[in-house]
C-alpha cells in the first residue's frame, strides 16, 4: 500500500506542482494518475521513489515513510518504467535488464540468466538479448524497459507514460501485454498517462487530476463513467460524445450499439433473455 499524506511540492522557481495531495493506493492494484500535461502527475509518481522530494507531507509505503529510507536503496526496490524507455544506449538488451540485479549484488551469471528469462515474459525473442537499444524498434525498446522494471521482482512498479511515444497499434499491444502481466504478477502499479482511454483500460483505481494535482475524482473506471463528479470530468472522459456516447439501435438481427457519429460499435448482449 502506498499512501500520500498531505503532500505538497513546490519547485525552487515557485511552481506548485502538487498541493496538499492525500490518497491511498491499494496493494496489488493498478492506480492510474490521469490529467493534462503540467497537472503534477509525474511529480506524484516520482515522489514514491524519491526522485522528487516533497516540500511538505509524507509518502508511505506499507506504513513506512520513504523519507526515512536511503534513496538509492529505495529505488533499487521499486521498478521504474519511463517514456522513451530510458535504456542505456551502450548496454546490450540483456545488460540493460540485468542492471538493477547487478546493483543489488547478484552475480553476473545469475543476473543475465534472469534477464534472458524476462525477455520471454515481456514477449521478446531470445535472440534480441545481445542487441543494443538502437537496433530495436520503439515497441521492442519499451518492452525491454518493462522487463528492466520487473527484473528485481519489485512489489511496486512505477510507470511514467510508458507507452506515450509508440504508435497506436503497438501501444494497444503493449497495453494488452501489461494487463496480462499484471494478472500474472500482481504488482502494485502506479501508472501515469494523459490518455483517459488508457487510464480506464489499465486502472483498477483511476485518479483524475487538475492543476497542482488537485483530485477531481477517484474511483474505478465504471464508477467514474457511471457517475462523473462534475462537468469537467464529464467533458474530460467524453461521456457525451464519441465512443462513450452509445445509443441502442434496432436492426433486423437484434440490437446494436452506435456511437454519436452513428457508427456501430458492437452488439447489445442482454443477459438472462
Amino acid at each position: 500500500m502506498i499512501e500520500f499524506r498531505s503532500v505538497t511540492k513546490q519547485f525552487p522557481d515557485g511552481t506548485v506542482a502538487v498541493e496538499d495531495f492525500s490518497l491511498v493506493l491499494p496493494s496489488h492494484r493498478t492506480t492510474v494518475f490521469v490529467g493534462s500535461s503540467g497537472c503534477g502527475k509525474t511529480t506524484l509518481l516520482r515522489m514514491v521513489n524519491r526522485m522528487v522530494e516533497p516540500t511538505s507531507g509524507d509518502v508511505e509505503i506499507d506504513g513506512e515513510s520513504v523519507l526515512d529510507k536511503d534513496p538509492v536503496e529505495l529505488r533499487r526496490g521499486i521498478g521504474y518504467v519511463m517514456q522513451n524507455s530510458g535504456l542505456m544506449p551502450h548496454f546490450t538488451v540483456v545488460h540493460n535488464i540485468a542492471t538493477v540485479l547487478r546493483l543489488i549484488g547478484r552475480s553476473k551469471r545469475e543476473a543475465h540468466e534472469r534477464a534472458r528469462s524476462l525477455l520471454e515474459v515481456v514477449g521478446l525473442e531470445p535472440d534480441l538479448a545481445d542487441r543494443y537499444p538502437s537496433q530495436l524498434s520503439g515497441g521492442q525498446q519499451q518492452r525491454v524497459g518493462v522487463a528492466r522494471g520487473l527484473a528485481a521482482d519489485p512489489n511496486i512498479l512505477l510507470m511514467d507514460e510508458p507507452f506515450g511515444a509508440v504508435d497506436p497499434i503497438v501501444r494497444s499491444e503493449l497495453q494488452q501485454e501489461l494487463i496480462r502481466l499484471q494478472t500474472e504478477l500482481d504488482k502494485t502499479v502506479v501508472f501515469v498517462t494523459h490518455d483517459i482511454d488508457e487510464a480506464f483500460l489499465l486502472g483498477d483505481q483511476v485518479v483524475i487530476l487538475d492543476k497542482a494535482a488537485r483530485i477531481v475524482q477517484v474511483g474505478s473506471p465504471s464508477e467514474i463513467i457511471e457517475n462523473p463528479a462534475d462537468d469537467f470530468v464529464a467533458a474530460f472522459i467524453g461521456v457525451d460524445r464519441g465512443r462513450r456516447a452509445l445509443r441502442i439501435k434496432e436492426t433486423a438481427r437484434g440490437r446494436v450499439l452506435v456511437d454519436s457519429e452513428g457508427r456501430t460499435q458492437g452488439s447489445l448482449v442482454e443477459d438472462g433473455v
Binding site: 536503496e73 529505495l74 521504474y80 542505456m88 548496454f91 538493477v100 525473442e125 535472440d127 543494443y132
Partner: protein
C-alpha cells in the same frame, strides 16, 4: 622548391643522427615535454571537468577560465614564468606553460562529454538506484569519452606546436633547429625543423583520431556494418 629540396637534404643528412642535437634526441625531448605537459594537465582538468559536467555547477567559471587561458600568448607566458621562477627552473616554467595551454581543451572535453549525455538516460540510471558515482562511472564517463578524447586531441596538438618554443629557453625539442637556424640564416635547417614538427603533429593527430573513434561505445556508434548486421538478423529471425 630549391629551399624545400635543401630542407629535405638537411633532414636526410647522416649528420642529423650525431651529437647532442641529433634529430632522434630532439624528437624524444619534444614528445617527452608534450607527454608530461598533457598528463599533468589531464590530471588537473579532467577530474575538474567531470565534476562540472556531473553536478552542472561551476560551468561559468570553467568557461571564463578557459577563455582567458586561450587568450594568453604562450611565448610571453613562458618568458614571464622563466623570469618569475628563475633560470634554475626553466624546465618547470616551460612545462607549466604547456600545462596551462592544454587545460582549456581538456576541461571542455571532459565537461561537454558528460553534459552531452541524454538527461533521460541519466534520469533512468538514477531511478534504477545507481549511486551518483555509479551514474558517473557506468553512464556519463563511457558515453562522454569520445568528446573527452576529442579534447585530448586538440590539447595535444596545441602542446606539440607550442613545445617548439622550448628551444628558445634552451630546452631542445624539434624547435631547436628552427630557433638556432634563424639567426644563422640557415633556412634549410629552419624549414627542415618545421617539416618535422608538422609531420609529428599530423602523425599524433591521426593516432588520436583513431582513438577518438575507438572511444565511441558499441551501441552508440552509427556504424553501417552494425545496422547491416541488425537488418540481417531481423531478416533471418
Amino acid at each position: 622548391m630549391n629551399l624545400f629540396a635543401d630542407a629535405i637534404a638537411w633532414l636526410l643528412s647522416p649528420e642529423r643522427l650525431d651529437g647532442a642535437y641529433a634529430l632522434p634526441t630532439l624528437l624524444g625531448q619534444h614528445l617527452l615535454y608534450t607527454l608530461i605537459a598533457v598528463l599533468i594537465s589531464a590530471a588537473v582538468a579532467v577530474p575538474a571537468g567531470w565534476l562540472i559536467g556531473h553536478t552542472g555547477r561551476g560551468r561559468e567559471v570553467a568557461v571564463a577560465i578557459s577563455g582567458a587561458a586561450r587568450a594568453v600568448p604562450s611565448f610571453g607566458l613562458m618568458v614571464l614564468l622563466v623570469l618569475l621562477l628563475g633560470v634554475l627552473r626553466i624546465p618547470e616554467a616551460a612545462v607549466l606553460t604547456f600545462v596551462l595551454l592544454a587545460i582549456p581543451s581538456l576541461l571542455a572535453g571532459a565537461y561537454t562529454g558528460v553534459e552531452a549525455v541524454d538527461r533521460r538516460v541519466v534520469d533512468a540510471a538514477r531511478a534504477m538506484g545507481m549511486t551518483e558515482w555509479q551514474i558517473f562511472r557506468k553512464v556519463e564517463m563511457p558515453l562522454g569519452l569520445p568528446l573527452l578524447v576529442g579534447g585530448l586531441r586538440s590539447a595535444t596538438l596545441q602542446v606539440i606546436a607550442t613545445v617548439t618554443i622550448a628551444a628558445y629557453v634552451n630546452l631542445g625539442g624539434l624547435g631547436w633547429p628552427i630557433i638556432q637556424g634563424i639567426p644563422l640564416r640557415r633556412f634549410d635547417q629552419v624549414l627542415g625543423g618545421a617539416i618535422l614538427v608538422a609531420l609529428l603533429a599530423l602523425a599524433v593527430d591521426l593516432l588520436l583520431a583513431l582513438a577518438q573513434r575507438a572511444a565511441v561505445p558499441t551501441g552508440v556508434r552509427s556504424h553501417p556494418a552494425a545496422s547491416r548486421d541488425a537488418r540481417a538478423a531481423t531478416a533471418s529471425a
